[in-house]
């Protein structure tokens, strides 16, 4: 009884943590290039919508691919405005986040005649399969960021702009590809969310893209740290889901939904407190 309880909590944690970790690693790519993309939330949303819209006819594979592409396109747009045209990278990311729900609603209205829930039973997949896709994507991203020459150059482009230029690394190209990676991974994460319920619903990402950004900072800007932070935040989501089922029908059940946000804020501040003390000592 106890063991099955722990096992199911563990599985629920993984299911919540995996999309967070993937999006957060995408965010980490841009943070490593010193050009943090805050458009993850928007990219997850367009990824979820696009996977349901395309996947309804093209199936799971097509859905996931189109979700990835849509997220990548959105973040690339923001990245291009920031890097190519000199916009503030935060403002461009924010514009992407503001654009996402609007454009999804407009396209949904024009193509499907609804701005509400878009059912796509064709992309519905089991938890195991979705987890497998996410974990493979996470491993690929970790290899790219931590082990590949590309990842090294990305960090070089971020940390030492002039040195990197002298070494023949085009900083802007690397920063732009970091935005592409961030959008693609957030888009795939969103597509997996849609695939989990076999539908797109407005607002279904519920701030996960922002929480992924918290994971970037909580994880001290390292792949392993970001994954650990995502597992912690995923546990919060899992606990809140379980508590919601437990109290369903009770008068305060809705309040449980606030738990992940409040707890994430606490974790973020508490981590900052520790970090601040450490910096004070040295």
């Amino acid at each position: 009884m106890m063991i099955t309880g722990i096992a199911s909590l563990g599985l629920a944690t993984l299911v919540s943590a995996a999309p967070l970790a993937l999006a957060a690693l995408g965010g980490l790519a841009t943070e490593a290039a010193c050009s943090l993309s805050i458009g993850l939330e928007g990219a997850m949303l367009v990824g979820a919508f696009s996977s349901a819209a395309v996947g309804a006819t093209a199936g799971l594979g097509g859905g996931l691919a189109s979700g990835t592409a849509a997220g990548a396109a959105l973040c690339l747009l923001a990245g291009a405005a920031a890097i190519g045209l000199g916009a503030d990278v935060f403002v461009a990311g924010l514009a992407a986040n503001l654009l996402a729900p609007g454009i999804v609603s407009v396209i949904s209205q024009a193509a499907f005649g609804t701005k509400g829930v878009l059912p796509a039973p064709a992309i519905r997949a089991g938890q195991g399969l979705i987890l497998l896709v996410l974990v493979l994507a996470i491993i690929l991203l970790v290899i790219i960021l931590a082990k590949s020459v590309f990842g090294l150059r990305l960090r070089a482009a971020g940390e030492g702009g002039e040195v990197a230029e002298a070494a023949g690394i085009h900083g802007s190209r690397y920063r732009l590809s970091a935005h592409l990676i961030a959008g693609a991974s957030a888009g795939l994460a969103g597509a997996c969310l849609a695939s989990g319920i076999g539908a797109y619903a407005p607002g279904m990402t519920t701030g996960r893209g922002w929480i992924a950004l918290v994971a970037v900072f909580l994880g001290a800007r390292r792949c392993s740290g970001v994954i650990a932070a995502s597992l912690l935040l995923g546990l919060l989501f899992a606990l809140s889901n379980i508590a919601q089922g437990f109290w369903s029908g009770a008068s305060g059940a809705e309040l449980v939904q606030a738990l992940p946000y409040a707890a994430t804020a606490f974790a973020f501040v508490a981590w900052g407190l520790g970090d601040f003390r450490k910096r004070g000592r040295t």
Partner: protein, 340 residues
Amino acid sequence: MNAPAPRAGVMAWSRVLALGAAILIAIIYAFVASSDPREAMKAFFLSPFSSDYTFFSMLEYSGPLLICALGACVAFRAGAFNLGGEGQVSVGTLAAALAAGISSRLGLDPGLGIAFSILTAAAAGAFLAYLSAIAELKTGAQVMLTSFLVSQTALIVVDWAVGGPLREEGSNLLGMAPIDSVYRLPLLAPPSPLSLGFPLALALAALTILFTKGSRQGMEIRLLGKNPSFAWAVGISPKLGAAAMVLSGAMGGMAGSLLVLGQAGRAVKGMTGGVGWNGLAVALISGTDGLGAVPAALFFAWLDSGSKQASILSDLSPDASSVLVAIALFLITARRRGRR
């Protein structure tokens, strides 16, 4: 990278150009998406002016929007990215409704009661922003993320309270009991929803501009946002940035009180409806100097009411306005090369 900043006039023109481009995109969108583009375009651009009612509704909506935008401007000026506008508005609605209830129980003078509601709402929004401001000051946790997280939490709690324990008994509506009509803002052109909230918002805009442009603290806040290390060197405390954040939250709360004390006359579940995020967009489009926020808020209110009308009268989407504004935002920010 140190290109000389373009003259203010040039910047203003580039903003107008970007908004013009957004309108052009709206026209193309109407042609592509609508089966009757002529009718759709007429509904989109002209319907807000078609009657007193629709025109005054548009003005009424622009009030809270303008206040949210001004709040966002103040925070941006100080270099604080306040993404919690939506939650700050939401606690403002709850606080204003509760305060109005207290006023009628105490039998306060109507003017005093309204002021009490607005100030309580401002205090509630300020408190929410204070949490993020103090967290950044003490621990370095980015305001951008904590303000969003705190705001999400507040939205859920307020929606629960308004639709749950505080809900009016026996009502079909998920909301609190209507507040006593004497404690609402007077309507200026009944039966339209235009209330005293709109002139109040304009007055607040004038005050904000005077503060940021004319006062010493306003200048120090701007300096803090532009160059934090220089500001530190000349002895400007980072606490001033926290104060700007709190002020920003107070404005969000005030915007919430206008929503409650205006036409609605009560706090309803989910009544913020994105006004905090839209205010943020308006602030960024207007260039965060406060002055531009007035025309930008009116412009947004026009697009918003136009797209809502067009969705009723034709087959366009009611959310077209937010797409147009985001596009305008891309165009505007992309023109700010070398200028932060």
